[in-house]
Each structure stands twice: as C-alpha cells, then as structure tokens.
Amino acid sequence: MSTLGRRGRWPAALICGLTLTGCTIGPSATAARPPAPAPAPVVGVSMVDHRFELDRPVPAGRVVFQITNDGQSAHDLIMLPLAEDVPPIAEQLRGSERRLVQPYAGIYERPPGDTGTFAVNLLPGQRYAMICIVVGEDGEPHWMKGMATEFRTPGPAATS
C-alpha cells in the first residue's frame, strides 16, 4: 500500500521505499502525442429585431453558444427542450393550450451591442427552442414578433 497520511500518522507500511526509477503510472509519455481533443463547437447567435440568426447548424453534445445583440433593443435568449408532441414553438406560444416545459439554458437580458455566452450538453435527435421573452415598449413580448425559433440536433434520439 503506498498511501500516505492515514489519520495523521504514517506507519512504515504506508511509506513506499520503492525506487522504481523510470516508472510512471501510465504508459510512457515520451512518444509523440496526439493533438488536443477537438474543442466544443461554437455556434454564433445574432439577436436582431426580432429574430435569432444562427451561423451554423447546431450539433449534439457539448456546444458553446456565443451570442451578440445586434438589434436596436434589449433581448434575451432562453433555450427550452421540446417534446416531440409539442407543436412548433411559434404555434405553441400563440396557442391557448399550455404545456409543461423546463428552461434549459440561456442568457438574461442584454442591451444592444452586448454579448453573452453559455455552454450546454445537447442530446442527439432532440428538439430545442430559443425564445426571447423581453417585452417591448408596445407591451408585446419579442417572441410574439418572431424571436422564437427551434432546431433539432442531428443523430438518433435516445429511446426511453
């Protein structure tokens, strides 16, 4: 046993006297190493008056969203997972039927020119929505004006 510091004492049995020069826990690291693992893909999101513009399709797995408010008014971004039987998000938001949804991620209100970022782990084959819930001076929430979109990540959905 080569552990140390058991309850403040170090009995001899715990002290390794081994001098295994050249030993490491894992295999030798002197060989050429592979490149660093690929970073999480970044999806740029531009918030304009009044829509979300994504600069690439959203993959599954770890994804980083970099958001910029390119509009003239304040916006936010709330990401929601959508069950398969939920109507399209714009239709759902305008409908009278309420469904149960959990906010998943997002950024709070940003003034024009401001930025935000967040990272998430997205399931394959899953529907997600982005909505802006800021209420404009006219009393209308921005999702009513078009800031509600959805996407589906690629890949087979997990079966429950």
Partner: protein, 512 residues
C-alpha cells in the same frame, strides 16, 4: 419544477429584471480583453455548481492548457477541460469515468504536467454521509486527456486541502510534490478536530508509485494551520504558504459566532532541498485581519503564491481597512541567513479605501518574462456588496507598483447563487469556491472564474468562464496607481486596522 410556458415567460421576465439592478450595460469592452468563453455546461433545472478552477499549461507545449474544477452541486464532483489553443476554446474530458473502490464522490481536483507532458490529475475521494475524504488518488493521461490510467491511491483517509505540483527537472519524469492537512480524528461538522492536525509534505520521483516519508511543513508551535498553498521555484525550492489561525478556535472548529476579532498569521514555509525538509519559515504577515467568517475550514481559500527565481509574492484578502481588500507582499531575496525581506503590503484593488465593498480570493502568477499578474473577485460595482466581478492588475517591477485595475468580466455574478451552507459558521451563505484560475504568459494572461450571470437567482448554478487579457511585459512602461493617494490610503488603513485590533469593547464570549 415544471411550469407552463406562460408561467415561465412571466417568471423569467421578473427574474431577469431583478437579478442585476443597475449594473447591466453594454459599454465597449476594453480592447485588451478577449471574449468570455463558457467552459462548463449549464443546466438551469439542475444548477451544476462549477467553481474553484485551476489552470496549468503543458511545459512542453504551452498552447495545451488544462482547467480542473470542482462541483458543489447537485452533488460533490470534479471536472476537467482541455484546450489546444491556449484557452480560447475547450473540450470536456473524463478523467475519472469510474470512481475507485470505496470512493463515492470525486472532489477538489489538482492538475500538473510532468516533464514528458503526461497530465496528472489528483482528486480526493469522498465517502459516507459526512463526505469525509477517504483518500487522494492520481490518474494520468499521456494522450492529452483522451484516456486516463486507473486511479492510484496516494494518500489515506482524512487528508484535507491536498495540493499537487510537479517539478519537471527532478525524478524520472518530474518530482511530484504533495502537501496536505493530516487530520487526526473524525472532524466535527464544518470544523477540524482537536490539534495537532499538521500540514505535511511528501514527494515522489517515480510518478506517484512511491513517496518519501512525510515531513511536517508548519512549525510545531503553530497548531491551527489551514489552507496551504503550494508553488515550486525554478531552483527546486518548494514554497508552502498557509494561515496560522492562532487563537481563533471559532473558525478552526467551525463554530457559530461573529467574525474573529483577532488576527491571523500568514506564513511561508520553504524547502531548499527539493522537499526533503521545510527548514525555513518566514512570516509574510503577522496581522491578517479576517474580513468574514471562514465558510468552511476544509475549503478555506488559500493565500495566493507566485515565485520567480528567488522572489516569492503572496496575496490575500484582509479586512484591516474595514472591508475586504486584496493585499500583496513580495520578498526581494531568497530568505537565506537573514530571512526573507518583505516589502510593505500593497493594496491591489484601487477602489476607495474603506468603502465597504469587498475584494477577495486573489490569485497570482508570473509570466516567463517577469510580469506579475493578479486577479480577484471584486464587488465595487454594486453598493449592496453582493455582485462579484473579476478584476485584474499587474506589476512589471516585481510587485513594487501595480497597474490600474481592469475589469475582466462583462456581467455580474451574484454571490448568493451557489450551494448553501447548513453548518453553523456559514449558515445560509453560498459557496463560491476556493480559488480563481490564472495562467500568465508573455504578453497575456488567461483567467478563469465561477460565473453565475446565466444562472437562476435562487439556484446553485455556477459556470466556469475564461478570458484572455493582453498585458505589457516586464520592462515595458505601465501606468501605476501607487503614489500619494496610496500613501494616504495606507495611513487610513493603518488607523482602521489598529481599531480592529484594539476594539473598544471586550471580545464576545464566542470569539474569546
């Protein structure tokens, strides 16, 4: 909690409007700042509490950088991310896919590279209802985080505040140094048991297969020693900074009560023989004024240490001016026969002295060229003293003068978001972690912090963010804020500090 869409909309509008009163804004970012990068994944319904990041670069490839952090919610855990581009982007990796036998949770990771670029990831295994440390383990990756070896146990039970660093120039592929607090018996809730619970050190020259017999780091007469920090010097020196709480049994034992009205000592123990013995002790500061209760003694923020050549610099949070300030002292010699000589404490935050706003949890690092960087949490931008930003400063003259502070974070993080304590010393307060991440290189610095700007206000959610800031190298001129104003501020600080140390009323029973 599941809500209807309509309810979500209403709730979030209210939440969004109330989270950051008066501090949201889109002022043009400083041109020296890069973008903020989200490292860890958020999930609002769960509220993962990622905090306490540490950044380390591969000495053989400085663009390969790793970030290890702990999680306090939804349960204790630990994480690791790697970057192949110097911290501009990150990939999650899984260093502990299967916990070692007997361990129920992974916690408090440390990370270091050996001479060959092998990545060593140390973590503490927690077990039982009290989440007691049942051992410390090391796992190794030689393929940049794609795979890891089975964890190997390197420390036994009740090893707290475990630190790891590797001296690349000694041993088969580097000398692995461990420093930890060895606790003598099961600790009470939120505190350490009766002393002695010494700080110990040992090292391994064979990648963690075997270790030397532990040696005691702290002086024997210093009993309540906590929060060790470990850095290695280029001459194989081993520097361990720690706090000596002196008579402060309240914080040491995690008891209920007000802020300790006495002072602590900040001590530097040095080994000049590669860790065989720690035979030099230097008092960095003998009158550290606590600015708050220690939330949890096991995870108390250690002092910030940085070493370059013979010079050691130390930073800490100090309440001598009536609120928490970040102070730093640097030595100008190696602590030989005459002992280390420390410059006068420098106040690194440049907000008005005694304004009641807190700066705390500093981190220091030297660039290879000699620039000394500091980052710290800072609440100067909100009068309620609740919202954290991260600020930085730097010194190009070895810590004698410091540049005007620069805010690194664009959005505020609420210090009330996080895992809430139930122990008496910190009842109802949120854990925000034990450290910030800082990695300095020539011309820039990479910083990492716990960020709650995207989190629900009543949640535990904390994300680790990073950013890169461009900074002048040592020898280049930089404006500084040290001067007459600081002298005046220092005088005021001394007066307040004297008042703190000489209260007009008798100490309360709880603090006696």
């Amino acid at each position: 909690m599941l809500l209807g869409v309509g309810a979500i909309l209403t709730g979030l509008v209210l939440v969004g409007g109330g989270l950051l009163p008066g501090v949201a804004g889109a002022s043009a970012p400083d041109p020296r700042l890069g973008v903020e990068v989200a490292v860890t994944a958020m999930e609002r319904s769960v509220g993962p509490a990622n905090n306490s990041p540490v950044l380390v670069a591969d000495p053989a490839d400085p663009q390969f950088v790793v970030l290890a952090n702990r999680l306090d919610a939804p349960d204790f855990s630990c994480a690791l991310h790697v970057s192949g581009d110097g911290g501009r982007s990150w990939a999650p990796v899984g260093p502990v896919p299967v916990l070692p036998e007997g361990a129920e949770k992974c916690y408090a990771p440390e990370v270091a590279f050996d001479r060959n670029g092998a990545l060593h990831y140390l973590f503490v295994g927690l077990a039982g209802r009290g989440n007691e440390p049942m051992g410390a383990f090391v796992t190794v990756s030689t393929d940049r985080g794609r795979t890891f070896s089975p964890p190997r146990r390197v420390l036994g039970p009740l090893s707290f505040a475990v630190r790891m660093a590797i001296d690349p120039d000694l041993g088969a592929a580097g000398r692995m140094h461990l420093v930890w607090i060895s606790v003598s018996s099961d600790p009470p809730l939120g505190g350490f048991p009766a002393t002695p619970n010494p700080i110990l050190a040992a090292y391994s020259d064979d990648g963690g297969l075997s270790f030397t017999q532990p040696v005691q780091v702290n002086e024997v007469q210093r009993e309540r020693v906590v929060a060790p920090a470990l850095v290695l010097g280029p001459d194989h020196s081993v520097q361990v900074g720690y706090y000596d709480l002196g008579r402060d049994a309240v914080d040491y034992q995690g008891l209920a009560g007000p802020i300790w009205e006495g002072t602590w000592s900040l001590v530097l123990a040095s080994s000049t023989d590669g860790g065989k013995r720690f035979d030099t002790t230097s008092i960095v500061e003998d009158a550290v004024v606590p600015h708050e209760r220690v939330l949890l003694i096991f995870t108390m923020t250690p002092p910030a240490l940085a070493v370059r050549g013979e010079q050691v610099c130390v930073a800490w949070a100090d309440g001598r001016n009536g609120d928490a300030d970040v102070l730093a002292r640097c030595s100008d010699n190696d602590g030989g026969a005459g002992g280390r000589r420390w410059n006068a404490p420098q106040r690194l935050n440049d907000d008005p002295v005694g304004n009641g706003l807190s700066q705390f949890m500093p981190r220091l690092d030297f660039s290879p060229g000699g620039r000394l960087d500091a980052v710290f949490y800072d609440r100067r931008d909100q009068p309620a003293n609740v919202l954290n930003y991260v600020y930085s400063t730097h010194s190009t003259d070895g810590g004698r003068t410091w540049a005007p502070n620069l805010r690194l974070t664009r959005h505020a993080s609420s210090s009330t978001v996080g895992q809430l304590y139930t122990n008496p010393s910190a009842l109802g307060r949120a854990e925000f972690g034990s450290r910030l991440g800082l990695l300095s290189s020539d011309g820039q610095a990479l910083a990492a912090w716990a960020d709650t700007s995207n989190s629900n206000p009543n949640s535990t959610g904390q994300d680790v963010f990073t950013t890169i800031v461009e900074l002048p190298e040592a020898g280049q001129p930089t404006s500084t804020f040290a001067g007459a104003g600081m002298i005046g501020a220092g005088a005021l600080g001394l007066l307040v500090g004297w008042r703190r140390k000489h209260p007009t009323s008798a100490p309360s029973a709880a603090s006696a």
